[in-house]
Every structure is written in structure tokens, then in C-alpha cells.
């Protein structure tokens, strides 16, 4: 768990990427009215590895992911992407200042996000979804964007569905298009928010396979998931959240191995899918 204590390295210093965490979460709390969903999270997500965020429903893991993507604003604390602050900059005296929308968009464009509900835009084809940001944000020529989009669709095995609208695709296919959409912008980090939770069991496999390939290719992935089997086999780091606190953070062996933290044991009992037990 040494990563957690690693001091943030200023981005200006040309340290090797592996030394600077891909995502650094510092003292993040999140309050919705009276309820404190996140109660001071410190987490470093290493670059080039897959980190899985697990925990019971309501533990705050999705909120944490959304704070990292700056879809939610943390009540206190800061987020840095490869050392660059996202949303708020912190002065040495702890004072937070809001960064410009321009800056937020810039830093955020280095993150890709895959949602539980896919969130494909229904009025655009699969290819249209993938190319949208390339054309409107990156100002690429449409033909170049489409070539790149097709490549991404090929990567998720859907080049023959490019002209289909989301309503004409299965859930698994939609989620793979959503992954291609995120990949098209060449993100440094890919965030997954329970990517298979809305899928029928027979469709989760195709999505998990794509994610496995991505993990194997050395991308930085941060995955919120209920698929403990996937987390245990693909995740290189496991972070366990409970009641808004980060209880455990380490390699699968450290986290799942004996002796287990009592809260984790309880969680696994409730949530563990039977097949995964063998993997641990």
C-alpha cells in the first residue's frame, strides 16, 4: 500500500510515467445534503495497470469514479491526472481554486469513461458515436475521423455494425461501441462504471473479453465492478470501499488472501458469485 503515501510529483518534473500515478485522489470527500458518501479518500491509481474498485452497493465507489471524471465535484479534496489537477487546483495552504472550463475539458479529455447505461447517443450510428468528439472536439476531417473510428470498432469486434443505430444493437454490442467511443480519443486512463451491470449474463462475456484485451495491452484501467471473478483475475490492484472509506488497497493476493478483513469477508459472502470462489 505504499502508493497511497507517495507524495504527488509536480508534472513539470520529467519523471518517468510509472512513477507518477495515473490518477491521484487526495482527501476527497463528497456530501449529498446530509449524507457523506465519501469520507476522505486517498488513492493512487498506477499507470499501465488495471485497478478494480469493489465494494457493497452504496459504498461510494461509483461516486468516487464520477468524482475522478469530474462528473461530480468533490466537496473537498483534489484529483490529479498524471499530476495535472482536474477541476480544482490546490494551493500549498490547502485553498482550492476552480480551474477554467477550458482547462477542465482539456484534462478530462485525457480520461475515457464507460458507463453502466452505455449512454450511446441514439440519433447517431455506432460509427457516428465513435467519431463525434474526433470531429467536433478534435476538429479532425470527417474521413480521417471515420478511419480512426472504424479502427476502434474493429478493436472491439464491431466493424460490421458501424452503420447501425444503437437501437439496432444488443446491449453487449452497445457497450462495446461505448468502449470504442472512449478509446477513439486515445485516453491515458479508461474509467469503467459497472460496465456489465445492465447486461444479461450471456452478454457480459463479450464486454469483459474486450476489457481483458485492453488490460493486457497495458492501458491504465480503473474499473468499478461487481464481477469479483474479473477483478481477481484481471485486476492488478484491488481497492475495497465500504461506507465511503477506502478500507483496503493492494494486490489481489494482499486483499483477497487470508487473513481477510472482516468487512471484506462479509461482502464477499454476500456478493461473491459462486464460480469466482475457485479463483481466490
Amino acid at each position: 500500500m505504499s502508493d497511497v503515501s507517495t507524495a504527488p510529483t509536480p508534472a513539470a518534473q520529467a519523471t518517468p510515467q510509472t512513477a507518477t500515478p495515473a490518477v491521484l485522489v487526495k482527501g476527497v470527500t463528497k456530501r449529498f445534503g446530509e449524507t457523506e458518501v465519501l469520507q476522505g479518500i486517498d488513492l493512487a491509481v498506477p499507470a499501465g495497470a488495471t485497478t478494480c474498485l469493489i465494494g457493497p452497493s452504496g459504498s461510494g465507489k461509483s461516486t468516487l469514479l464520477r468524482c475522478i471524471a469530474f462528473l461530480e465535484e468533490a466537496t473537498t479534496g483534489t484529483i490529479a491526472i498524471h499530476g495535472d489537477p482536474l477541476g480544482f487546483a490546490e494551493a500549498p495552504n490547502g485553498q482550492r481554486t476552480r480551474l477554467s472550463p477550458q482547462n477542465i475539458r482539456e484534462v478530462r479529455s485525457r480520461i475515457g469513461m464507460v458507463f453502466q447505461q452505455f449512454n450511446l447517443w441514439p440519433h447517431m450510428t455506432a460509427l457516428g458515436n465513435v467519431c463525434e468528439a474526433l470531429v467536433t472536439v478534435r476538429r479532425m476531417k470527417r474521413s480521417d475521423a471515420e478511419a480512426r473510428g472504424m479502427a476502434q470498432l474493429r478493436r472491439v469486434g464491431l466493424e460490421n455494425r458501424a452503420k447501425h443505430y444503437p437501437s439496432e444493437l444488443s446491449g453487449g454490442q452497445q457497450q462495446r461501441v461505448a468502449i470504442a467511443r472512449a478509446l477513439a480519443l486515445d485516453p491515458e486512463i479508461l474509467l469503467f462504471d459497472e460496465p456489465t451491470a445492465s447486461l444479461d449474463p450471456e452478454l457480459t462475456g463479450e464486454v469483459l473479453n474486450v476489457m481483458r484485451d485492453l488490460a493486457a495491452s497495458g492501458m491504465t484501467l480503473l474499473v468499478v465492478t461487481h464481477e469479483i471473478g474479473f477483478a481477481a483475475s484481471v485486476g492488478q490492484r484491488i481497492a475495497f470501499l465500504d461506507h465511503g472509506r477506502l478500507l483496503l488497497n493492494g494486490s489481489p493476493r494482499e486483499v483477497f488472501g487470508e487473513p481477510r478483513h472482516p468487512r471484506l469477508a462479509q461482502f464477499l459472502e454476500t456478493y461473491l458469485d459462486r464460480g469466482a470462489a475457485a479463483l481466490l
Binding site: S109, G112, Q117, P122, H123, E132, A133, S167
Partner: protein, 222 residues
């Protein structure tokens, strides 16, 4: 009783000109009303809170009073505050403002109906606010609200009949005047009923056609 439509046949040029006035005033008011309604809905969504309250009052007042009264106020009350409009501009402005209130509510619901996740997905790939409005919200909303918009357009076809009361020479005014001249009152009403019925059903048919064409864009429910 017998109906004699031959009396009406002689007046075809006048009747057609009335029909034309009905159609173009309707089209202009519908398009301008939808545009203004969209502006109102956008301002209420993105503008400051006081503007939202003000526009809410605008919408509720227009939706809570009959079009006829609004038109009377504009046309007959207007000159008392220095606003002297000719019948056709008054009719167009009145109908546009009236329509904008209803359209703004349709669009407001449309904004709400676009899943938040679709906007978040756009934020995540770096689209700006304007781009999100233009590229994501507007097109998605259009297909969500199309049926209600067609409905409103149909209501507006019928509301144009009221413009005859401020002497706009549209179909109701022209045909009922001819009916009075020729003492063919019932024939005139029949003719009007048929004309409006055909207009409304045509509009409804075109709307359904458009909906069918857009249906493949409908939401894929995960």
C-alpha cells in the same frame, strides 16, 4: 333540407385565397412559435433563476388564458398603449406568442427526458456546453418531442380560425362571409369542417410518417 354547394363553387378563387392565408399564417406561427419556445425553454434551463421565474410567469399566463382574449388584448387593447398592429401582423404575433408558451413546455419536458448519462458521455469526450446543446440535446430532444410538436401544430391549425375575428382574411372568415352573402350558412360550415379536417389529418399523417422515419433512433433501453 338540401345542401347546394354550387353556390360555393363560383367563389373558388376567394376560398382558395382564404385557404392559403390559413396555411401560411399557420406555418409561420408554428415555426416562429417553436423557435421562440425553444429559446424560452433554453433560457429557463440555462439562464439565471430570476429569468426562469419571469419566463415561468410568461408561460403560465399564456397557458392560463384563452387565445381569443390574448388576441383581443393585443389587437384592441394594443392601440391604447401605443401598439397599433394591422390584423395579419397582430394575428401572427399573437399566435406565435401563444404557441411559444406551449412549445417551451414541450421542449422543457424534452430536455428533462434526455437521459443525463448522454450529456455526461458528451462531457467525458470533451464536448463544450454549446456543442452538447447542438449536437446531443437538440437532436435527441427533437425525436422525443416530435409527437407533441405535431399535436401542437394541429391545435394551431384550428386556432388560426380565431384570427378571422380580428378580420384576418383566412379560411373561416372568407368562407363564412361567402356563406352569409349567399345565404348558404350550413354549406359554408360543412365546407369549413371538411377543409379543416383534411388539413388536420394531413398534418397528422405527415407527423406519423416523420415519427416512423425517426423510430430507429429511439432509445435502446439497456
Amino acid at each position: 333540407m338540401t345542401l347546394d354547394f354550387a353556390l360555393m363553387a363560383d367563389k373558388m378563387p376567394e376560398i382558395l385565397s382564404g385557404l392559403w392565408v390559413t396555411i401560411w399564417t399557420w406555418l409561420v406561427a408554428t415555426i416562429l412559435g417553436a423557435g421562440l419556445g425553444f429559446l424560452v425553454a433554453s433560457a429557463r434551463r440555462y439562464g439565471p433563476a430570476p429569468l426562469d421565474w419571469l419566463l415561468k410567469l410568461y408561460v403560465e399566463v399564456l397557458r392560463g388564458t384563452p387565445f381569443l382574449v390574448q388576441l383581443f388584448l393585443l389587437y384592441f387593447g394594443g392601440p391604447f398603449v401605443g401598439l397599433r398592429l394591422e390584423p395579419i401582423p397582430a394575428g401572427l404575433i399573437g399566435l406565435t406568442i401563444y404557441a411559444s408558451a406551449y412549445f417551451s413546455e414541450i421542449f422543457r419536458a424534452g430536455f428533462e427526458a434526455v437521459p443525463k448519462g448522454h450529456v455526461e458521455a458528451a462531457q467525458c469526450v470533451g464536448l463544450s456546453r454549446g456543442q452538447i446543446l447542438r449536437r446531443i440535446l437538440l437532436p435527441e430532444m427533437t425525436m422525443l418531442v416530435l409527437p407533441q410538436c405535431v399535436n401542437m401544430a394541429i391545435i394551431l391549425i384550428k386556432e388560426t380560425a380565431i384570427l378571422s375575428i380580428i378580420t384576418v382574411p383566412e379560411m373561416t372568415g372568407v368562407i363564412s362571409a361567402i356563406g352569409s352573402q349567399q345565404y348558404a350558412f350550413v354549406e359554408a360550415m360543412f365546407l369549413l369542417a371538411i377543409f379543416y379536417w383534411v388539413l388536420v389529418e394531413t398534418c397528422g399523417y405527415l407527423g406519423r410518417l416523420a415519427e416512423a422515419r425517426l423510430s430507429k433512433f429511439r432509445f435502446a433501453v439497456p
